[in-house]
């Protein structure tokens, strides 16, 4: 009873938008009781674990304080209790090296993606490249064709940039007519954010000497698909760079070891992994992945091509699909926002299906073309609620509603889905994915849905 009165008081004093959204400064106040959210799986494990160990286990005197701990390890791994924080691979049934694996965004906090959880998109497997044998060739419309070894490149002055990489096909289950029911990261997690370190591409292009008619570069990888993509020379000279390091260590094989082209803010496929060749040209090559795929068919029958920057997008990662709010009370709504055109300027959150909005707290510093963490306290009253987030970037671009996006682009564009995602919390606390104007289409996890990834 008195808990209810406290809740009312908290609400009266701090509500900033409908259905219990509270002042973002509330996080700074001490002594607030936040309630727990769990994924369905871990709730079950937790419950059985406590039942079993309750008898003899005393947290005041934990067993791990009564014996020496484990020895040092040359390369650290996550705790064995975190063994469900995993990428979710979704390969082609025959060509097992073709497909994707999703970053578990719903199980992560902060803004940096650990190297082992960075999403993957490969066309024909992860090449096992010996860095001593690998070369980068730069040729074409240049004054001197040059070839570099990795040891050569390691001697160049380097720079670091933290930025997201997002596959052009991320979240494409959003085009489906039924809302996809999976954990948030397992259909939106083809986006990851690392600190990449390497050599500015402009340094090498200046060394080879661009000819006057140089307009594009064609970047090619040393994988079994020999993936190639065309990139405008302006971008190549502006902020593209050749990364050798990822979050402080050499790039992981599945992310392009030993050399990856980073094209900040632009479609993931342009960030060519296992980079082996840059051909300077006066026009794009019209590769398979810039014609047949990574182009967006519009209702008119025409297709958008060379849609490079990833538009602003956001997503609530907790609470999110498949999680359970065990009781009404005070929760933290948190998620990620990003834009391929610059910094995120604000994220609005709604807890009443978009009727009213409140501005979330952005984790500082907000970095250019990087994942940006937002948070907002929320008092859940136990009633059915729809929560959602909406990003605005520094260009003033506002993340669209799904209806607006579909009205503009149709349903067959496949790539560049960046609409607002709505999570519905039922009275029993279960969270599911819904579409706007459509609160009846959930509970269809049995429907097989094309969450492809080309």
């Amino acid at each position: 009873m008195s808990q209810d009165r406290d809740d009312d008081l908290l609400l009266k004093k701090n509500q900033v938008a409908g259905n219990g959204l509270l002042d973002r400064r509330l996080f700074l106040k001490k002594g607030l009781q936040f309630s727990a959210i769990s994924t369905l799986v871990s709730t079950a494990t937790l419950a059985s674990a406590t039942a079993e160990t309750k008898k003899e286990f005393d947290p005041a005197n934990p067993t791990w304080m009564k014996q020496p701990g484990k020895a040092f390890s040359p390369y650290g791994l996550p705790s064995e209790f975190e063994d469900d924080v995993l990428r979710y691979p979704s390969p082609n049934e025959v060509v097992t090296g073709n497909g994707v694996s999703w970053t578990p965004l719903h199980k992560m906090e902060g803004t940096i993606t650990p190297n082992g959880l960075h999403y993957e998109r490969h066309h024909n497997g992860v090449p096992q490249i010996d860095p001593k044998q690998h070369r980068l060739l730069i040729h074409g419309l240049v004054k001197n064709d040059l070839i570099f070894s990795i040891d050569d490149l390691l001697r160049y002055p380097m720079q670091s940039k933290t930025c997201f990489i997002e596959c052009g096909g991320n979240s494409n289950a959003g085009w489906n007519s039924q809302p996809h029911q999976a954990e948030a990261g397992y259909f939106n997690g083809m986006v990851s954010c690392c600190e990449w370190t390497g050599v500015p591409l402009s340094v090498l292009l200046n060394e080879v000497g661009l000819r006057k008619n140089a307009k594009w570069i064609i970047a090619e990888g040393a994988d079994a698909f020999a993936m190639q993509m065309s990139i405008p020379i302006e971008k190549a000279m502006d902020d593209a760079f050749l990364a050798l390091y990822q979050n402080g260590e050499r790039i992981r094989p599945e992310n392009g070891y030993p050399l990856r082209l980073i094209v900040p803010g632009w479609e993931g496929v342009l960030n060519v992994k296992w980079l082996r060749r840059l051909k300077v040209t006066n026009r794009p090559v019209m590769a398979r992945n810039e014609t047949s795929k990574y182009t967006e068919l519009q209702p008119s029958g025409k297709s958008r091509m060379f849609t490079f920057p990833m538009e602003a997008k956001s997503l609530i990662t907790s609470p999110s699909a498949h999680m359970l709010l065990k009781e009404k009370g005070l929760y933290q709504i948190t998620g990620l926002a990003w834009s391929g055109r610059g910094k995120i300027s604000k994220v609005d959150v709604s807890a009443d299906g978009g009727k009213t909005w409140a501005e979330a707290e952005l984790q500082q510093p907000v970095l250019d073309r990087s994942l940006t963490r937002f948070r907002l306290p929320w008092q859940w009253n136990g009633k059915q609620s729809v929560i959602m987030s909406r990003a605005t970037d520094e260009t003033g671009y506002v993340q669209p509603d799904r209806n607006k996006l579909i009205k503009e682009r149709g349903k067959h564009g496949f790539f560049h889905y960046n609409a607002i995602t709505r999570w519905q919390i039922d009275t029993d606390g279960f969270v599911s994915h819904i579409y706007e104007n459509d609160e009846t289409t959930k509970n269809n996890s049995d429907i097989s849905i094309d969450s492809g990834w080309d």
């Binding site: 082609n92 049934e93 025959v94 060509v95 073709n98 066309h123 024909n124 060739l137 730069i138 040729h139 001197n144 064709d145 040059l146 070839i147 570099f148 070894s149 050569d152 490149l153 001697r155 160049y156 002055p157 340094v203 090498l204 200046n206 060394e207 080879v208 064609i218 090619e220 079994a224 698909f225 020999a226 190639q228 405008p232 082996r276 060749r277 051909k279 040209t281 026009r283 090559v285 019209m286 590769a287 398979r288 014609t291 047949s292 182009t295 068919l297 519009q298 209702p299 008119s300 029958g301 025409k302 297709s303 958008r304 091509m305 060379f306 849609t307 490079f308 067959h412």
Partner: protein, 185 residues
């Protein structure tokens, strides 16, 4: 004692490194200039990019009949009979138009340039043995895929000059969003 010795070694190697660096510095002092020259003949072995106007197409030729035979042998398992699709992409046989309710995007209905077929098949296919096809085989498979899509006739031969001349039905079906945005700026 030991410590001092090690410090001395480090110091000398730093000095040597600095020396080498200034020795190698090219015309631009800020840039290390560590690239190595490479001959045009050597570059030819690397450069497999094929452009819509035919630049990059090698010598050789192939026809539909040869292509069909190769397709049954090396491609049908993943792309299905007549290119209708299986575990991988449908390559031909689109029935529904691009602005219909269920559009079908195949080589014939969607791809803007025929040269892209040659380029991707030579560099990537078959997935189980990429880079294993000869130029003649690649021309033949390209011919067969164009024939399956009703773009060339059964007795057309594909080579560097005929392939570059093939006009695809959807060539004008694309909006270059990058150029469009650039011109607005």
């Amino acid at each position: 004692m030991k410590m001092m010795k090690r410090q001395k070694i480090i110091l000398t190697s730093v000095l040597i490194a600095v020396g080498i660096n200034s020795l190698y510095a090219g015309p631009n002092q800020d840039s290390p200039h560590l690239g190595h020259t490479i001959s045009p003949e050597e570059i030819k072995k690397w450069d497999i990019s094929v452009f819509p106007d035919g630049e990059g197409l090698p010598d050789g030729k192939g026809n539909v009949v040869e292509g069909e035979k190769l397709y049954q042998e090396k491609c049908i398992a993943c792309h299905g009979e007549n290119g209708l699709g299986a575990s991988s992409d449908q390559l031909a046989g689109a029935q529904m138009g691009l602005s219909s309710e269920y559009p079908e995007q195949t080589i014939g209905s969607y791809w803007p340039y025929a040269t892209t077929i040659f380029d991707v098949v030579r560099r990537s296919m078959p997935m189980t043995a990429p880079g294993s096809l000869t130029n003649n085989e690649t021309y033949a498979l390209t011919a067969y895929l164009l024939y399956l899509n009703n773009i060339i006739s059964k007795d057309d031969v594909m080579n560097a000059s005929t392939l570059a001349k093939v006009k695809m039905p959807n060539e004008d079906g694309f909006i270059n969003v990058y150029e469009e945005e650039k011109s607005k700026k």
